[in-house]
Amino acid sequence: MSYSDETLRRYLDGALPEAEAKAIEADMLADRALERRIMALDPMAEAVRETMQMLPDPARLAALEPAEPARPFGRWAGIAAACILGVGIGAFGMGLFGAQANDWRMEVAHYQALDQVRAVMAAVGVDAPVEKLLEVEGLTLRRAQILGHEGAPLGQIVFADAKGQPVALCLVASKSEEALAFGERLGLASAAWSGQGAGWLVIGPVPEAEMQGHGYRLQAALHG
């Protein structure tokens, strides 16, 4: 059904009988072009748009700095330093089993690392699907240990990325809930979030873009 501009203008003015108006509305649902035509014929729209788009005053918006979520890196400053202890950043050893050998020795290493991770999670008091840490794309689980930080257990889980660079995932008990955020710490790319009883920090000598991927994938693996 095609409508003249005149009919559509009368529709917009509310001057059509109800049955006709309903018919146009029904057609509009199926016909995007008709919808656009009607919008273009609307006498009121342009005047209102021109006026209202003068708002808001740009200075008003600029003053609206979105409140920074509690900066995870402020709290994490000391933890970041503890987190990279013993990881051999910059000179990552080949590990106990050498390069990426796809054989039984690699499997043994993984299960040993998984046991270490379980011990770490228990010490910090976190319940998380540790097996998922074996399946994180781009990261190979190497080992885990419990360090201390300010009198509380700090878990350190070490991965190797595809190039053999170390990426450390650290955790401490925490009641906060903070969204994943990225930033630089100690000259290294890092990612941090809190949830499910812990604060989590990922840090390593990798490019920022790669750290973002690691952050998202680790968070997804741990929290689903």
């Binding site: 649902l29 995007r32 919808e35 009607i38 919008m39 009121m44 006026t51 708002l55 979105p66």
Partner: protein, 175 residues
């Protein structure tokens, strides 16, 4: 799980839509201060929920939905308790932000008439006339049938109609 954004990239994209979000917040609340709160809260919430954003729709439509949700679930009740009325806009605050005649001689009148509309009509006008969402998109954002959008716009047009005549008179005078 959907595409993931770099926080900074998404923040920049959202910032580009902030004026529209602010205007929508103003249309919902009738208050420039509430619009400030809504714009800030929407931006924060969108960043928190960025993992849930499906790139199938338009980002700005998703942001509008978040804004409306915050208004309905969080701010609206508090504001009604505070001011004792919803459709009575905060006259002074609005006078502060009203466009002046140097922009366009009718801007102040248009602004006052639009802000005097009831919330339901005002938000429909804002989404369709000002931000140029289609009727269907506006219906989705406001969570009403498309017919409801049309009837709200009809009612708004009737109220605003005198502006049309005044504007036409000015145009003729200039020609």
């Amino acid at each position: 799980m959907g595409a993931f954004f770099s926080d900074r990239g998404l923040k920049r994209e959202i910032a580009g839509h902030l004026p529209a979000i602010w205007r929508f917040g103003l249309s919902l609340s009738g208050s420039p201060d509430a619009a400030d709160d809504l714009a800030q809260a929407t931006m924060l919430r969108a960043l928190e929920k960025s993992g849930q954003y499906r790139e199938d729709g338009r980002l700005v439509g998703w942001l509008m939905t978040i804004c409306r949700s915050i208004w309905l679930n969080e701010l609206r009740a508090a504001r009604i308790r505070k001011t004792g009325a919803l459709d009575g806009a905060e006259v002074e605050a609005l006078a502060d932000i009203r466009p002046g005649p140097e922009a366009n001689i009718f801007a102040a009148e248009v602004f006052e008439k639009v802000m005097a509309l009831p919330e339901a009509q005002r938000s429909a006008v804002e989404l369709v006339f000002v931000e140029q969402f289609t009727y269907s998109e506006a219906a989705q954002i406001l969570d009403v049938p498309i017919g409801t959008i049309m009837s709200r716009l009809h009612a708004a047009r009737r109220t605003l109609a005198p502006l049309n005549e005044a504007g036409a008179g000015l145009k003729e005078a200039r020609e």
